[in-house]
Structures are given as C-alpha cells and as structure tokens.
Symmetry: none
DNA sequence: TCAGTAACGATCAAAAACAATCATATTGCG
DNA sequence: CGCAATATGATTGTTTTTGATCGTTACTGA
C-alpha cells in the first residue's frame, strides 16, 4: 500500500472515531506499527490530525460539549434582550390549551421561558425546545420525527411525516434570516426544508424577527409576505418597513423593550 | 481501552446520574480502580467534572426535577450492575455503521455508555436515549415523531409514522417486562404500541432482560418466542429457562457478571 | 465511642506504547 | 542492469501507562 493511501485511510479513520489507535490502523492498512507511527507523525506536523499516545485523533474534535453546537449557543446570546421581549409577546398571543407549532431557531427558543407556566400543546421540530419544555414545563410536547441535525438543532426527515401532517395548529411561530418585500428569507437550506413542511399546518403564521432582520437579505425565499399573519419585532423597526408590512396586510406587534420595569438583569427566570 | 475512550465513557456516565462511583466506572470500562481514579483526577483538573469521594459528579448537576419522572430514574438504579453487563453485550454485537433500533427502556438505556465511542445509525423512540447520545457521542441519531410521554419517556404517535416505516435496521434492541413460553410480555399498553410499530423494522430482534424477568408475567403479549433472535441476560438464568429458549430456537447470551470479590451486596447502590 | 468497612494514595512490577537503529525491500534513475 | 535513495519492517532498549498490593484515612452503623 502506498503512502498516500495510508494517509487517506488514517484521516478517514480519525474522522469516524474519537480516537484511532495504532493497532487499529495497522489492521486497516496492513502495514507495520512503525510505518503507522511515522505516518501519524508526518500528518501531525502537517496539522492534519493530532497525535496522542496510542494513536491519533481529529484536529477539531467535534466537541459535543453541549447539545447546542457552537453556532446555536453563540446565537443564543446575540440580541437576547430583544429576542426575549419578542418571544414574550409571541407567547402572550396564546391561551392555555392552544395547539401551536414552534419552529426551531434561536428567537423562537426564547419562548420556552414564557411557556414554563403554561399548558399548551406544543409541536416542534427543535430538539432543544422539546428538551427544555419537557424538563421545565407541563406543556404537552409533540416532536417531529427524523434525523437530528446537530448543527441546526432541528429534526428533519426526508419522508413525508404523518405526525407533522396530522397536527394542525392555530398558530405557527418561526424566526427568519431576513424579511423583505420579496417575502420571508432563510439562509440555511436545511431550515427551509424543515419550515416548508410545517408552514401549511397552521391557520396563522407568526414571524419573530428582531428589527435588524429587515435590512438583511438572504438567498432563499420561504414564502411571500401575504402568507404571514403577524410579525413581532422590536422598537428598532423603521417606518418604511412597518409600512411595507401594512401594505401586505400583515399585523405588526412591536415588543416594548422599554416597559420592562428596570430589569437590567435580563437573565431568564 | 484507550484513555480517551475511558474519559468519554466517564463523562457520559456522569451525565446520566448525579454521581458515578468508581466501582461502576470500573465495570463500565473494564479497567482498574487505580486507572479510574487517575482518570477522574485528570478530568477534575481539566474542569470536566468534579471529583467527590467515591467517584465523580457532573459539573452542572441538577437539571431541575429532571426529565425522567420518578419511575424512570428510580428504575435506572435497580439492578444496574446486571443491566450494564447486559447492555455491554448488546453493543458488542454491533459494528460501526450498522443501523440499529433501540426501543426505550431502562435496560436499553444503559447501552448509551457503550455507544459513546461508536458511530452507528441509531433510531430510537426514547427521548433520554436520543438526548444522551446526541450530547455524548457521534452517532447519527434518528427519532420517531409524536407525543412525548413523560412517564414512559417514549415518543409515540397515533399515526403511522413514515420515518419509522422507512428506517430498516439490522437489529432492534428492546427490554421487556417478562419472558415466558407464551412469548415476550409487557405491562404498559403504551409501550406495547410503541414496540409493535418498530418490531418489524429490523432483521433481528434482540431482547435484553435480566434473569428475574423469566419468572415474571404480564398481561400483554407482544410477540412469540420464535420471533426473537437473541436474548441477552445475566448469569442468574435458570437452566429450564435456558432450555425454553433453546427449544424456541432463540440464541442466548449470558452476560458475564464475573464474580466480583465478595459481592454479597446484591442490593442496588 | 469504637470497630468494621470503604475509599484513598503511594509504590512497584507488568504491560503497552514508543523511539532509535539497522536490515531488507522497493522505487527511481542513469 | 546496477546503484542510490527512500520506504518499510523487525529488533532492541526506553518511557509511559496500567493494575495490583498495602498501609493510611475517611466514612458508617451499632
């Protein structure tokens, strides 16, 4: 076996498992330990992997420290003041007993805090949302089936999911990457897929976006403005954007960040 | 077993319950107490867990009341020694890349620790299993859709679930309430429902039961003995029960609870 | 309080992993 | 073809890790 082939095998093996031992690699490549060690050493200086005693490990060990991968947990803290205010308004629309759909996302995730004392029927495709509500509330939780995508933290199935098709809600709540005259825009194709499966399963579509989203654009259009029932945003929204929504017949709720009585402690309760 | 692998298993175990004892970890990893102590000490200085007398605990331990209602978490500790040994044999049957189904239950839950270093395609209807694997392993996780039942910790849908129907596995692993000549018995009608949806989605049916289950009966029969490919149990199984399985053409694996020095403490710890 | 037991730390020998070296095989090139 | 350059595999001695033992310390229950 040639050197390059071994290197490919080694790199592949290191991706598959947290740590590939020298002995394993010997069996995989039918070469000697000495050779494998030399290979690992070479790949180590090439910064292709990290050399550890006993074998080698991937350079960027997908640190599944938390369920929320980096992107998710980082997003969590961005604009969390506004997001919480927006989420609060969203939950305020609901009454106990209502069936609702919460699409995965960092803004919609903030709804969980205000749902802690409620008793709704919540359908979601977000693993973190389901987990949190399950642990910290008495709501009925329904989950869509499929593969859990770690990066986006959503559950998605390539097949038409009858659980999804049979759950019909009064309202569906979702975030978005951007909101323009063209409609509701999203960046991640995976999220688009997930959202398109849900979007027709509710009477009303409630979109939760902070005001910065009105100036952002994205490549993928999910649906037109007319499909949206209500937009909840923060007071940073510009008049022209509000006018745009009004023209499309979309209700607008501006979450009052100011009315929260002196809570500099934004932390959740 | 490699150092990194042990560390993963230890961290996995610490997540599951408030405190993982050294003895438990020894059995989980097949290494000595000295090694486990050294590992715990190392992980302690790495701030990955907290070292306590007798073992280790998670850094951020209390997830409130906990997702698992009482019944689940209580069951968790009963006969956990045997359950872990049984679960270990179960995982040993699998090769990386295999598609498998893990039905929810306390015995099958123990498989998660041994899956920490593996890379399988795991389909489950158990929220805790999905959660744990998601957080502590690189396995691909697929979840069935539906309502999350808190008592039983399973996800169940009244509708035929296409995710389920389209996932076909090599092996399905499940626990049971009892095992008699009549077949596999279950007590909870809800569990029966969940299991019947999955049981035909795999080539082989592997049943994980501790030996006490052979003398227990239950009201509901899930399937006959002949449907079972393999039974994994502990060394407490009686000869007549082994004969019963043999007569039905069922493979039997006895998980070696190799006599630990003077284990008069059969009680749970 | 006072055993009795469990957990611990230190120590040392065995095992595993390693680095260095040399002999052999393979490859490339004149 | 022959020779040199390089890669590979085997051998040996060294370092690291592991497991077992033993004396000490911390808990437990009467």
């Amino acid at each position: 076996m040639h050197e390059k082939e071994r290197h490919r095998i080694i790199l592949s093996a290191v991706q598959e498992k947290p740590v590939a031992t020298v002995v394993e690699l010997v069996e995989l490549t039918d070469s000697s330990e000495a050779t494998i060690r030399r290979d690992i050493a070479a790949l180590h200086v090439q910064k292709k992997l990290r050399r550890v005693r006993g074998g080698a490990e991937a350079l960027h060990p997908p640190q599944f420290v938390g369920l929320a991968g980096r992107p998710f947990s980082v997003n969590q803290s961005i604009n969390s003041r506004q997001k919480q205010a927006i989420a609060k308004e969203a939950v305020a629309l609901c009454e106990d007993g209502d069936p609702i759909i919460i699409n995965g996302g960092t803004t919609t995730f903030q709804m969980v805090h205000f749902l802690a004392n409620r008793r709704l029927q919540v359908f979601t495709n977000s693993f973190p949302i389901a987990e949190h509500l399950l642990k910290n509330s008495k709501n009925t939780i329904m989950l869509s089936g499929g593969t859990i995508y770690r990066e986006q933290n959503i559950i998605l199935s390539p097949f038409d999911n009858d659980v999804t098709r049979n759950f019909y809600a009064r309202r569906m709540f979702m975030g978005a990457q951007g909101l323009s005259p063209l409609g509701l825009m999203e960046a991640d194709p995976l999220l688009i897929q997930a959202e398109q499966k849900l979007i027709d399963q509710a009477d009303e579509l409630i979109v939760l976006v902070d005001s910065s989203k009105f100036s952002k654009r994205s490549s993928l259009i999910l649906c037109g403005l007319k499909r949206i029932t209500t937009v909840i945003t923060d007071s940073g929204i510009e008049d022209r954007h509000a006018a745009m929504l009004e023209a499309a017949g979309v209700n607008l709720i501006v979450a009052g960040v100011q009315e929260m009585n002196s809570n500099r402690s934004v932390t959740l309760e």
